[in-house]
Symmetry: C2
Subunit: 197 residues, 2 copies
C-alpha cells in the first residue's frame, strides 16, 4: 500500500471520518498544508504517548495528578462520578461545580465482561474510605447499564457515612416538549417544583 | 499549551473539523485508540514527506513518475488538463479515459498573483511541443477564472497542430431540472442532441 492509501485508511480511525472525507483531507493536506500536516503528526504522537490517566481521578493529564486534583482551591470532600473524561470538560464548562471528580472506566456491562472491579469501583470505595469524602454525586447518563452501575455504587458505599446524590432529571434548557421522550417528561413531572414556595 | 490542547488545535487543519469535533476525536483516540492514533501520526508524517508531484504531470506520487505516466498501456498522445490531482481520481473512477494527465497548479487568478506561468502553462506547451500530443482535453469546472484559463491555454497552444476539446456541459446524471442553475440548463439546450439520428 502506498503512503497516500495508507493515510486515507489511517484517518478513518477518527470519529465521523469515512473514506470520502479521508481522501479529501489527504488531497488538501498534500496540496497546501504539508507543514500543518507534519505538525499534526507531531502533536498526535506527543499526546498519544504523554497523556495518561490521573492517579487519583483517572482524568487525562501529562503529570501524575490532573489539573483539578492538584488544585488546592477545589473542594476535595465532594466527588463527582462520571463515565468518561470528556464529561469533565462539559461539567467544568458549566462553571458551577468546584469539587473533584472520579472517572469510571466505562459502565457495568456483564456482556462485555465489565463488572464492578473492571470499571474501578473498588478504587472509588478506597477514596471514600481514606479521604473523608462527604458527598458523591453520580453524573451518569440514564440507561439500563447506568442503572446497574448506580446499584453497585450504592452497594459498595453503603458502609460509609457519605451522601449519595444524582444529577436532576428533567427538561433540558431550550428543550421542546414535543420532541422529548416519555421518560424525560415523566421524570420532569415527578420532580416538579413549587413555584410559590 | 499542553499536549491535548495542542492536538485539538492541530486537528483543525483538517477540512470539516472544528473545535468541537476535534475535541471529540482527541478523547476518543485517548480512550481506546492510542495504537491507531500513533499509526495515524506515522502515516501522516510518511505521506507529507514522501509524496511529491510527478515530474511529467504533477499528479501525486512517491517516485519520479506517477502510476499513470509510467504505465505503457496509457495513450500518451492525449492529455487531460485538470485543476487538481484529486480530479484525476474522479476521472479514473469513471473508467472511460485511457490517456495521460496534466495537473495545473491552480487556475489563472491575477488577484492572487496566479498568471499563466504560475499555474504551469509553459510546461504544458513544452509537453505538447516535444511529445507529439494529438489532443488536449480541458477538464476544468466552469467559473470566471476557468474562462481566463481556457483562453490562455488556447493562446499558448495555437502554434501547434493539436486538437483542443473540453468536457461536455449539460445535465448531470440524476440531476433534477428543478434544482439546476440557468447556465447548466442553457448549455444543455444549446448542445442538445438529435434522438432520431
Amino acid at each position: 500500500m502506498d503512503a497516500m492509501d495508507a493515510l486515507v485508511d489511517a484517518l478513518q480511525c477518527l470519529p465521523g471520518v469515512g473514506p470520502k472525507s479521508a481522501q479529501r483531507m489527504v488531497y488538501q493536506l498534500l496540496k497546501s498544508k504539508r507543514q500543518r500536516g507534519l505538525h499534526l503528526a507531531h502533536c498526535l504522537q506527543d499526546a498519544m504517548i504523554k497523556v495518561q490517566a490521573c492517579e487519583k481521578c483517572a482524568n487525562y493529564t501529562e503529570g501524575a495528578l490532573c489539573r483539578i486534583c492538584s488544585d488546592p482551591a477545589r473542594a476535595d470532600r465532594t466527588l463527582c462520578v462520571v463515565e468518561s473524561a470528556a464529561d469533565i470538560v462539559a461539567i467544568e464548562h458549566s462553571q458551577t461545580y468546584k469539587g473533584c471528580y472520579f472517572v469510571l472506566n466505562g459502565k457495568i456491562s456483564p456482556l462485555d465482561g465489565l463488572g464492578p472491579e473492571e470499571i474501578g469501583l473498588p478504587k472509588l470505595r478506597d477514596r471514600v474510605e481514606h479521604e473523608n469524602i462527604e458527598e458523591v454525586i453520580i453524573a451518569l447518563p440514564t440507561s439500563v447499564e447506568t442503572h446497574a452501575t448506580y446499584h453497585f455504587i450504592q452497594k459498595i458505599l453503603a458502609p460509609y457515612a457519605v451522601q449519595l446524590t444524582q444529577l436532576a432529571h428533567g427538561i433540558p434548557s431550550g428543550g421542546d416538549l414535543e420532541y422529548l421522550d416519555g421518560y424525560t417528561i415523566s421524570s420532569a413531572l415527578k420532580n416538579r417544583a413549587a413555584l410559590n414556595a
